[in-house]
Amino acid sequence: MIDAINTSLFTPIGEDGLIGIYLILNGLKVTLIVTFFAMIIGSILGVATTLMKMSSKWYLRWPANFYVSVIRGTPVVVQLVILYFIVLAALDVDKITAAVIAFGLNSGAYISEIIRAGIQAVDKGQMEAARSLGLSQAATMKEVILPQAIKNILPSLGNEFIVLLKETAVIGFIGGVDLMRAGEIIRSRTFEDSVPLFTCALIYLLLTYIFTFMLSKFETRLKQSD
């Protein structure tokens, strides 16, 4: 066991002198960078898509619906590969940027659905009551609907970010070295299966655990304002 850990993580694993733990930490860095920026892009896209979907104009609604159904209807790994090898092929974009774009696009579609569901979950009577007082559609949204919708949205949004973090494990498909890919490289060079794979799994678990913990703290604080 100790031997296996030593071989996989703390001694050079090839003629290039690569050490497993450095590979893992660099992979972790890539995973976190991609997740973080994809989260930001996804959130912006998600809000924009929701606004478009709720618009009364068909030429805004239609592209938004199309975008969401394409993204939801295909696996993220297929989207990543198509984006990197076909859409962005001519542009000489590096792998991490491509991954950020792909996961951002993917997450945006899901986030827009989360926001839409959160808004729709607010009782219809709230809109009617606010409008009956003479408030405009926009003022009703801002003062009455969104403050209530946000409480429905946040838990699902946190969940979406956890899913996103885990889904980045397919970056290896375009040759990017993320946490998962780092584990795979070690495995193929040392022929040790358990240590690199469990190390990866443990780190993912730790990350999502920390994230869940921070979220629950945040939600508790929100509930106090009730």
């Binding site: 009577g125 009551a129 007082l133 003479g134 003022a139």
Partner: protein, 241 residues
């Protein structure tokens, strides 16, 4: 004050209102009664365009609100509405519920609105609940806050959509008392209700609706004690026992 000409409303194939013409005068209190599904709530909701009429015309103070380009938000400021399910804003305190619209619509400053809100809360007997959230109120208290919230816009007309139907029986009296005092102050009111005693005591006129049309209307005494139409007689014999 309000004139309604040949109002029709359909939901898909379901024709709910089949031609209603009616006039409601300033200071009049009109109760609308009838079996469920008769279209009485839809009729009320059409008056402030929560439902868009399929056909027909509604004129308030000489202005057609159903005409293309009519400013619906301005109309709604003049027409207060009280809902069966209160629809208070749960994320705002009682006082904030009342002051939100007048302040956002720039009819009052926050300070003025706060003073006004306290006066309205006193009127409905809930002054001590000003800083409470709706979730801590009983149904009857919620409905009284909802009435205060509608009154804060200083409406010329108040619509009540079954205001006591969702209340526990012992809460009904408090809400009806508030409405009664409002009627005595000369507010124009249209009330969809199942409270026959209240309709009889407070209304100037009672309208009986069934099947999407006004079947019969009269002064309350006359309608309740001497209904002319068979459908009215059948309905009243079931509810007045």
């Amino acid at each position: 004050m309000i004139k309604i000409n040949d109002l029709h409303k359909s939901f898909g194939d379901n024709q709910v209102l089949k031609g209603i013409s009616e006039q409601i005068n300033h200071g009049e209190v009109v109760s609308v009664i009838g079996p469920s599904g008769s279209g009485k709530s839809t009729f009320l909701r059409c008056i402030n365009l929560l439902e868009q009429p399929t056909q027909g015309e509604i004129i308030i103070d000489g202005q057609s609100i159903t005409a293309a380009g009519a400013c619906v938000d301005n109309l709604r400021q003049k027409v207060g509405m009280v809902f069966q399910n209160f629809n208070l804003f749960p994320h705002k305190t009682v006082k904030q519920n009342i002051t939100l619209a007048p302040v956002k619509l720039k009819l009052m400053t926050q300070a003025q609105a706060d003073i006004e809100a306290m006066a309205l809360l006193e009127q409905v007997g809930l002054k001590e609940k000003a800083d409470a959230y709706p979730s801590s109120l009983s149904g009857g208290q919620k409905q009284r806050v909802a009435i205060a919230r509608a009154l804060a816009m200083k409406p010329e007309l108040m619509l009540f959509d079954e205001p006591t139907s969702a209340l526990d029986p012992e809460m009904v009296g408090d809400v009806l008392d508030v409405m009664k005092s409002l009627a005595q102050k000369g507010m124009t009111m249209v009330i969809v209700t199942h409270e026959m005693g209240f309709a009889r005591d407070v209304s100037d006129r009672v309208i009986f609706m069934d099947g999407g049309v006004i079947v019969e209307q009269n002064e309350p005494e006359a309608l309740f004690s001497n209904p002319q139409e068979a459908r009215t007689q059948a309905f009243l014999s079931k509810v007045l026992r």
